[in-house]
């Protein structure tokens, strides 16, 4: 028994070591950082302990901008992408020929590099001295006025950001929803057919409740994912997100840590903890309400 004990711990040793150094210790450390006021990374000294860092972050216009951007992103992209994914999955499940082809195509964005395709999006939307950009030409064609989506007005930039985010998150949602729609037992639909249930009612009273656990899961992970948005913003607007006013909370954390405005791990920690608090709250709400959706 004793020998077995030692052996088991040996098997676990690498995992425990890596997790200890790169997850558990940082977890404690980040709290300490966030409480150390006036931390200087060069001299590694600080003045005192308190909540000043949090207050600084919460009063920092850049953070507030980042918070606003992130919230808009969450509120817009999660419902839009989930709804659209549901619509597409319903369509996918109702056809037979070409279904595989469509599914393959829809999954492509999942395996592409966010930064790389973001660059393509930027070029499609960007208005330069030489060219209007393809999207603007399209707008012109329908009689609209061209807008600079990348360096122009805030709403235009937000729109591109949302569009790109939706484009990126759709493959996963379509995949999961198509799967869970297909797993609904056909007998339920036959039973509904015998009863003369209208298609509309079949959808609301049968399909939707049956896939609601999965839908709920997608919404929650969608929320969490959108709150952590960062690299899509970098892909579209470059690394200096504060300058373009398109920063996200995660972006704010990294900017505080490193880069031109970096060197403030305390502020970064405070912001990261605030983000965690938001995500944690959502997860808790999730766990609470989830029970209602299970049967």
């Amino acid at each position: 028994m004793k020998k077995n004990n030692v052996k088991a711990w040996l098997y676990l040793l690498p995992a425990i070591a890596f997790l200890g150094i790169f997850m558990v210790y940082p977890l404690i450390d980040v709290v300490i950082y966030s409480l150390e006021e006036g931390y200087n990374s060069a001299s590694q000294s600080f003045f005192g302990v308190g909540l000043y860092n949090f207050s600084y972050v919460l009063h920092d216009p850049y953070f507030l901008q980042a918070l606003k951007n992130t919230l808009i992103l969450v509120v817009i992209t999660v419902p839009v992408s989930t709804g659209l994914a549901l619509l597409i999955s319903l369509g996918l499940n109702s056809i037979k020929p070409l279904k595989n082809l469509y599914q393959t195509v829809y999954f492509l964005p999942y395996v592409t590099n966010t930064l790389a395709v973001g660059l393509v999006f930027m070029i499609l939307f960007k208005k330069t001295a030489y060219s209007e950009g393809l999207v603007n030409l399209l707008i012109n064609f329908f009689g609209g006025k061209s807008v600079d989506f990348i360096d122009g007005p805030y709403s235009a930039k937000m729109l591109v950001m949302c569009l790109y985010t939706v484009w990126i998150v759709m493959p996963f949602k379509i995949l999961i929803l198509t799967g869970s729609l297909a797993s609904v037992n056909q007998d339920y639909y036959n039973a509904a057919k015998i009863d003369g249930t209208s298609r509309w009612r079949t959808f609301w009273r049968i399909t939707l409740p049956m896939i609601s656990p999965m839908l709920f899961y997608l919404i929650i992970t969608g929320f969490i994912g959108a709150f952590k948005a960062y690299s899509d913003a970098v892909a579209l607007f470059g690394t200096d997100l504060n300058a373009s006013g398109m920063n996200t909370i995660v972006g704010y954390v990294y900017d505080m840590l490193y880069g031109n405005s970096g060197g403030y791990p305390s502020y970064a920690s405070a912001a990261a903890l605030l983000l965690f608090a938001i995500v944690f709250t959502i997860t808790c709400i999730n766990l609470r309400t989830r029970k209602r959706f299970q049967f």
């Binding site: 711990w9 790169f22 450390d29 597409i88 492509l108 660059l119 490193y258 983000l275």
Partner: protein, 284 residues
Amino acid sequence: MKNDQNNRFGKNLGKFVTYALLSVWGVIVLFPFFWMILSSFKSYGSYNAEYVPKFYVSDPTLQNYKDAFTQVPLAKYFGNTLIFTIATTAIMLLVIVLAAFAFSRLEFRGKNAVFALFLSLMMIPNELVIITNFVTITNWNMRNTFWGLILPSVTSVFYIYLLKENFEQIPDELYKAAKVDGTSDFKYLYKVMLPICRPTVITVVILKVIECWNSYVWPRLITDDQAYFLVSNGIQEIRENGFGRENIPAMMAAVVVISLPLIILFLIFRKKIMSGVMRGGTKG
């Protein structure tokens, strides 16, 4: 009878609308890919001369691909990413397989407590620990090294969990039979458990490779020497400092080159990858 015809007409119309909508989304998905490939074959001159961009290439050129490999160290980024992806995935696999084996097959004191602790770590977002990890790696003088890139991402509680669940489905009798035959634990793990759980292992590898290939944030923090840039950082570098001037066709060529490996991988292992993502996605 008339009703029947109406019905059939309605059905056909419904099918048509469905296919039309699905195709619209298909075009939206494919268009960026089409555009990057198209632009990558246009010469610098002709791209900039087209005020209204053409949907075809009048004088296809490979110059952009040449530029992408010569004017910026794209091959270097590529090689770095390959090393990073393979090394990270391989080390991670070793770490998680050993841990999952201990949790599923071995009995030791405190097993449940340790596992519960592991599970609770699953809730911790990466953003929270990255700050200290950045400081740690800096203090270890590992910035701009492969170890600095690799080490923080070689464990995943989620994958340990996934693998452990799968290991536990293997009937006890197999283990006992192996013990009777005098098979060592390690050999049993290697010869019996891993082959049986191959689908899960493949899932994990696929997910990890995709994650590695697209990772941006950590490499950006930990490398500022171009010699250690991964493709994501490379593409950002190309975008910001690029080819000396805003050479969009060359950028697109670079984008095509770095997108291609995963897309090819995906087209080959389409079923495996999709079912893997589905399993990984719905277990959590």
